[in-house]
Subunit: 156 residues, 2 copies
């Protein structure tokens, strides 16, 4: 298991993502821990992240899957390249597609655990599948395509 989440290695100027940017003070601060095979994220939703009484907002769970899948894809790509994430050149991705299945309502008030694996990867993109557990029960599943980009510093 890497000691630090992969998001700690994102460059300062692009680490402003609402979902996972350490430099976004208003953000969710989603963190991905890569153990060499699997990306693991733990997140406890806030009380206001409600869908309906007692259950977690699906859009929040989709956001967790999104950022955590990117983090998993990036960590796996560094590993495939035989490099640590603090080496140059930077490897980064943006989300191409995000598919989420809500298997059952996600209960509020408990820590959610996301487990993600890369099922396909080449130099252009990666597919990441995720299961989201609450109290050990899978509530949501996701499949995300991460697209490699040279940098997140884009021009409009």
């Amino acid at each position: 298991m890497q000691k630090r989440p992969i998001q700690d290695y994102y460059p300062d100027e692009t680490a402003v993502c609402y979902g996972c940017g350490r430099n976004n003070p208003d953000g969710l601060h989603i963190q991905t821990h890569w153990d060499g095979e699997e990306g693991v994220c733990r997140f406890t939703p806030k009380p206001h992240h409600t869908a309906f009484p007692g259950f977690v907002y699906g859009g929040l769970v989709a956001s967790l899957i999104d950022c955590h899948s990117m983090g998993t894809a990036i960590a796996a790509a560094y590993q495939a390249a035989g490099r640590d994430p603090d080496t140059e050149p930077e490897i980064t991705c943006v989300t191409g597609s995000l598919n989420v299945r809500y298997l059952r309502p996600t209960p509020a008030g408990v820590e959610l655990v996301l487990r993600s694996r890369v099922t396909r990867m080449d130099e252009k993109k990666a597919t990441v599948v995720t299961s989201v557990y609450a109290d050990g029960v899978e509530c949501v599943s996701g499949e995300v395509v991460a697209v490699r980009v040279p940098s997140r510093m884009m021009r409009r």
Copy 2:
């Protein structure tokens, strides 16, 4: 065009959704206006809803698609039943699946317009397709399956 957004008709006790609940003071307050054929949502992301500098967080856009698709499905279902949304029994839905394709980065600083249509509907579920526009350019598309439930007041 209905004068009030469909979310104004959700029952008080379940109108706590972080995405679209009028009774969630910390929420996004997504609103769906149904014109008889199409659901329209207008939303201007906050400055902290960043993905990377200059662009909108994809998880926010997924959340907009989610709640607005539910609103569109519910409005269309009332219309199909020949009833106004302030009549009993309540028609409501939860999200079964949420598929989002990011066609291009969504620019920050402009109002987003979501246009949704119901492409399939029966008594159990509806499929809603959505295009998200910024400055008139489609940036994101979505397909959501809305599942009819008797009520959002569920028990764990």
